[in-house]
């Protein structure tokens, strides 16, 4: 399923020396082949998981909406509006919003502000490690149409061609009140059952990957980071 043709990986000029497939001699003389980019767990495509029955899913969506765990990854200049949310004045804990340090345990990824190509690679890696169901909240006008940096050679213009986005919050940067309104809108969307970003990503996986690989030219990670 890898779109990288393994034959011409050796001619790709961004392919680092230590990532190539090679034969290594072990300490007791045994020779074995080593392929650093093959991950023994990340070798499958993502699969769309169907939601459960209507009434049960409504209850579960209510619980998911009231307990949003946000990944503490500040991708751009908008992440300076997130610490004020945790201070006593705005207090996001009342709304069930808590910050978690690892993508495995969080369900919301906040893309705050412009997204450089370098950061997009890491954000994709974090997004793919989150568990189904997961949501993306896009802050700022740079994620909508490029914002202030629409003519930059290094920042993307439309976020929803690379990651499935649930709610956009406009502004440059949106104030904490606007961010809380964005969280409320996300909660409404989850409770209505329309926030199925993870399934969307799994269904349109090839299209997302083609867009991502068009701009990330040194792709030295698995196609899907479980």
């Amino acid at each position: 399923m890898s779109e990288h043709n393994k034959k011409d990986m050796n001619e790709d000029k961004f392919f680092a020396e230590e990532n190539k497939k090679r034969i290594v001699t072990g300490p007791d003389g045994v020779q074995f082949e080593v392929d650093p980019l093959q991950d023994y767990f990340c070798d499958k495509r993502p699969v769309a998981k169907d939601p459960k029955q209507k009434v049960i899913e409504k209850f579960l969506n209510w619980a998911r909406a009231e307990s949003l765990w946000v990944l503490g990854f500040g991708t751009g200049c908008g992440s300076i509006e997130i610490p004020p949310l945790l201070t006593p004045r705005f207090d996001a804990f009342r709304y069930g919003v808590q910050m978690r340090p690892t993508p495995r345990q969080s369900s919301v990824l906040i893309i705050s502000g412009y997204l450089a190509v370098k950061t997009l690679k890491r954000a994709i890696r974090s997004y793919e490690q989150m568990q189904n169901p997961k949501y993306v909240l896009a802050l700022g006008s740079c994620t909508i149409n490029g914002g202030m940096y629409y003519d930059s050679y290094n920042t993307i213009n439309r976020l929803d061609y690379y990651l499935p986005v649930d709610v956009y919050v406009a502004g440059c940067m949106p104030r904490p009140e606007a961010l809380l309104a964005g969280f409320n809108k996300l909660k409404e969307r989850i409770k209505a059952g329309r926030a199925e970003g993870a399934n969307d990503y799994a269904n349109k996986f090839d299209w997302y990957k083609a867009n991502q690989k068009k701009i990330i030219k040194d792709w030295n990670m698995p196609d899907y980071n479980w």
Partner: protein, 302 residues
């Protein structure tokens, strides 16, 4: 045969009460900490919602058999402590399965859970988990030291290793509590309680601001749900253990709730105004005064 099934059902009812009380107590403590910080804090029903959300995650990644079994061991440790601890003294429904030597068994179960989870988290493949485990186990070893000495001291004092008999010896008013008759052992155990409840200043291992957040770094979805369920049970049963050993036990549920709340509150009371110790600082701290008090407590009763 029938009695054992009935007793099992009563034990399960006790477990249900303890689990809900643990979640509620956790939420109350977080609300108190939030109020000290001049903000509103989480709503009271938040831990239940967190658990529902974790258990209803649609996908999860397993790294192997030991990773899967890690939370099971941890929950096994917590349930093991619960099963052998008499909750309400004098009631044959809620005395669980306590018998003659259960004090030593409970101390064993405390460490067993942590070791099992350490093995599981090590298989997670995350380097931060391993850092967290080494820190956590190192800290836990020295935390247990004053507690063990205090337990030896009261075992010598009451000439028994059964918790029910220790509780029985403390009935009849304030003056019979171990707090009054053996204050050194109580002091050593209260120091060790600060480390057991994993609040500041000893919460380096599980604090989310530290990037290696300890063993649960790689755990997610239902695994994390099991760990959090165990966390809630463990808070209540450890407070109940202290209540039975040092503060006279409980004869009905209201007393149980008040006493466990106040014992847990002691650790939050100290923690809410303290910063964190690093691991080497906390290890040396426990090996100074609490160890000394514990040794004195044992020497008095030899």
């Amino acid at each position: 045969m029938n009695d054992i099934i009935v007793k099992l059902l009563w034990t399960l009812l006790g477990l249900f009460i303890v689990l809900n009380w643990g979640l509620l107590m956790g939420a109350t403590m977080r609300k108190i900490v939030a109020r000290v910080a001049h903000r509103y804090g989480i709503p009271f029903y938040q831990p239940w919602l967190d658990l529902i959300k974790l258990y209803s995650n649609r996908s999860s990644i397993s790294h192997g058999v030991m990773f899967y079994l890690g939370p099971v061991f941890r929950l096994g440790g917590g349930l093991g402590i619960f099963l052998f601890l008499p909750l309400i003294y004098g009631s044959e429904h809620f005395s669980n399965f306590s018998w003659a030597g259960d004090l030593v068994l409970i101390l064993y179960f405390q460490f067993f859970g942590m070791l099992g989870m350490a093995l599981g988290a090590g298989e997670g493949g995350h380097p931060n988990s391993v850092i967290g485990i080494t820190r956590g186990l190192g800290q836990f070893t020295t935390v247990e030291l004053p507690l063990t000495l205090a337990v030896v001291s009261i075992a010598l004092q009451y000439n028994t290793l059964s918790i029910s008999e220790i509780v029985a010896a403390q009935q009849g008013g304030f003056q019979n509590w171990t707090l009054v008759t053996n204050p050194l052992a109580t002091a050593a155990a209260m120091f060790s309680l600060l480390g057991l409840f994993r609040h500041a200043p000893f919460n380096l291992v599980m604090a989310p601001n530290e990037v290696p957040i300890g063993p649960p770094t790689e755990y997610h979805s239902a695994f994390l749900g099991v760990l959090r369920t165990n966390g809630a049970i463990l808070h209540v049963v450890e407070a109940a253990l202290f209540m039975n050993l040092f503060f006279g036990g409980a004869t009905h549920w209201i007393e149980f709730i008040i006493k466990t709340f106040l014992i847990y509150f002691w650790s939050v009371f100290v923690g809410v105004v303290s910063p964190r110790f690093r691991i080497e600082q906390s290890v040396t701290w426990f090996l100074k005064i609490p160890l000394l008090i514990g040794i004195l407590a044992v020497i008095i009763f030899i």
